[in-house]
């Protein structure tokens, strides 16, 4: 068993990663509650945005142009998908709607591989100016990027919570999560509310994509699958319902994932963390049979 000092740096990286998972998880939960679609293309959209940002920055443009393009791209693509397939699949149930987003994930995954082939040359990467600055706590080196990642997670979670509670649009989203048909009858323009949810989810996926490309790696498999699986696990632990539970779960997943690193026997299995944690959570929760009866009955 490694000593405590060896674990310490991984607390920082784990929290930073957890913050991004939280941000992603909140994006997934909000879209799911508002539209009934679990956006499984979340990671793929962010990954494509990050790759585009990489190309833009590599071409000599200032960094912020790339970052903003990434976030906007993710927002536009997700919104476009939602506008195109949301109405076409409405009423087919969350399962079919969510499986359909896997189609988008495959398209983007193929496109990334096609446009940025992995073989040969320098592997692409994204770096922020905040990577180099930072401060130390005890002997721990903390970069500003890590602070931003965790901060974004907190801000987005709190902000989304407040938005859902106090704003008119947020109230409409909560109403739709409760009952779509009644909400429509009451005169809420549900298409527009759905569009807002898609756009929000897309923008968040762009943020998550560019940040993870910096903190983790600009690698399509990692960004497309690991991110989705980790944040999905967090969202599942939050029962696709509670953003505060999702937030905590995401931090725990990020922390556990990184804290395993120094334990040599388990290092290779650290990517199983979200799966194991989500399975345990699902098993415990399915006792109450709450999960099986959510929106899918409607």
């Amino acid at each position: 068993m490694p000593s405590w000092a060896e674990f310490q740096p991984y607390i920082v990286t784990g929290l930073a990663l957890g913050g991004l998972y939280a941000l992603s998880g909140v994006g997934l939960v909000v879209l799911y509650r508002a539209t009934g679609v679990l956006n499984l293309a979340f990671g793929a959209v962010g990954a494509m945005g990050a790759f585009i940002a990489y190309s833009i920055i590599k071409a000599g443009n200032p960094g912020w142009v790339g970052w903003i393009t990434c976030i906007l791209f993710a927002g536009v693509v997700t919104l476009g998908y939602g506008m195109l397939f949301g109405p076409a699949l409405a009423g087919r149930g969350p399962l079919v709607q969510s499986i359909s987003t896997l189609g988008l994930a495959l398209v983007l995954f193929g496109a990334i591989d096609l446009a940025w082939p992995t073989s040969g040359g320098q592997s692409p990467s994204i770096s922020f100016p905040t990577d180099n600055g930072g401060f130390t706590v005890g002997q721990l080196q903390v970069t500003w990027t890590q602070v931003i990642a965790l901060g974004l997670g907190i801000v987005i979670t709190v902000g989304t919570g407040a938005f859902l509670r106090y704003s008119k649009l947020g109230t409409a989203m909560r109403a739709m999560a409760n009952d779509r048909v009644i909400t429509a009858t009451l005169g809420v323009p549900i298409r527009r509310v759905e569009a807002a949810a898609w756009l929000g989810c897309g923008l968040l996926s762009g943020i998550a994509g560019i940040m993870l490309a910096d903190l983790s790696a600009l690698d399509d498999t990692t960004l497309v699958f690991t991110v989705v699986i980790s944040s999905l696990a967090a969202a599942l632990i939050g029962r696709l319902r509670s953003i505060s539970v999702t937030f905590v779960a995401a931090l725990v997943i990020g922390l556990v994932h990184d804290l395993i690193t120094p334990i040599t026997q388990l290092t290779n299995y650290q990517d199983m963390t979200p799966f194991v944690l989500a399975t345990i959570a699902l098993l415990v929760m399915s006792r109450g049979q709450v999960m099986t009866r959510s929106r899918e009955e409607g």
């Binding site: 087919r92 149930g93 969510s98 499986i99 189609g103």
Partner: protein, 377 residues
């Protein structure tokens, strides 16, 4: 709307065709299938180059995998994203047994199927209490988890110990094949025969009690429960059957590839697998064969043509969205309909001026499909 009957394709007329007087249509279908199988078994092998023999062996093996997944998706309504993980478990067990023992190959196939069935059932048993979306998500995570384990454990390559992997082996022995199917064409025939047996096994299930129970569960779980069907038991049965055939396919794959590497089973293939099953048609057994061709034959063709495989992934992605949005029956269901429509259109061209009826047939079929789509969901 009870629509499973019209989407089951060749096996649709269930009670009517049972008697001695088999109706002409199913007889024709049966003979077409028989002729195609005979062609695949005897006419194809001498005609194919080694490359295509390999490819067609893969098609035969993957048709078993898509059969299992199609059973889950189309018959029971369980969307599993972890079927590739199940395949790799079967391949691992098969390879390990083939290295460790000198049992006959067919026995190993059955053992690998049984072990995979047990592992698969144990893993999915807790998930089965969940429904729909949650099951799909947990199987996706399962796929991620298993791929991590595979990458660490590696496939057996003739080493010792439990894992059977020895990273420092200079000369890696090949996984053995049955004595009667040592050559590639012979192994191709063997794979086709195993695939036929697996299809018959699943077909027998569909035509008897479990098949009816699955159909009821797919229509509505609460009413199946109300009708006295033990839904968890039958869902587990479906999962176990799918895991068994997939495990057999895995052990077959071990003999076909002769060397297995975990990088050959990337996680995106799990999603691709579901994509091809949906595109091929999850409601018909023929859909499984079409799906296997999409999965294994198209990449081989693209490789010859020099087209990057990524285009295929993009195509599958578009295909999944299109199938879910407009044609839930997949190619197996849609292709005959399209052909009929084309035939009608052409025959109309001969009899009437085309301008009069140009819009009506497509509009009529579109509404028909929309209604069907709602039912199939």
């Amino acid at each position: 709307m009870i629509d499973t009957a019209d989407t089951t394709g060749p096996k649709a007329p269930a009670p009517a065709s049972r008697g001695p007087a088999m109706d002409r249509r199913s007889l024709t279908r049966l003979s077409v299938i028989a002729v195609l199988l005979l062609l695949a078994l005897f006419a194809l092998p001498p005609l194919m180059t080694a490359y295509y023999t390999d490819t067609m062996t893969q098609v035969a093996i993957y048709s078993i995998v898509t059969l299992g997944l199609g059973l889950l998706v189309g018959r029971v309504g369980l969307y599993s994203l972890g079927q590739l993980a199940v395949l790799t478990i079967g391949a691992w067990v098969g390879a390990r047994l083939l290295f460790a023992t000198s049992q006959p190959y067919i026995l190993v196939l059955i053992e690998a199927g049984l072990v995979t069935m047990i592992i698969g059932s144990l893993i999915t048993l807790p998930a089965l209490r969940l429904r729909g979306l949650y099951l799909a998500l947990i199987t996706l995570m399962l796929a991620g988890g298993v791929s991590v384990i595979e990458a660490t454990l590696n496939f057996p390559n003739g080493g010792g110990g439990f894992s059977g992997y020895n990273g420092s082996l200079l000369h890696i022995p090949q996984i053995r094949r049955p004595s009667f199917a040592g050559t590639d064409p012979a192994f191709y025939r063997f794979s086709v025969i195993v695939a036929i047996v697996m299809f018959l096994l699943v077909f027998a299930h569909l035509r008897t009690r479990p098949g009816r129970a699955w159909a009821a569960i797919k229509q509505s779980e609460p009413s199946a429960l109300a009708a006295g069907i033990n839904t968890t038991f039958y869902k587990l049965w479906a999962m176990a059957l799918a895991a068994f055939v997939t495990g057999v396919a895995g052990a077959l794959l071990a003999g076909a590839d002769r060397e297995l590497f975990s990088i050959d089973f990337p996680i995106q293939n799990s999603i691709e697998l579901l994509a091809v099953v949906l595109m091929g048609g999850a409601f018909a057994l023929t859909g499984a064969v079409i799906a296997a061709f999409l999965q294994s034959f198209l990449p081989a063709l693209l490789q010859i043509w020099g087209v990057p495989n990524d285009w295929l992934i993009i195509l599958f992605g578009v295909g999944v969205m299109q199938v879910l949005a407009t044609a839930p029956g997949g190619i197996a269901d849609q292709f005959p309909k399209d052909m009929k429509r084309l035939y009608r259109l052409i025959s109309r061209l001969w009899t009437r001026p085309p301008a009069v009826t140009a819009g009506s047939p497509s509009a009529a079929s579109a509404t028909g499909q929309a209604g069907k789509g709602g039912g199939a969901a």
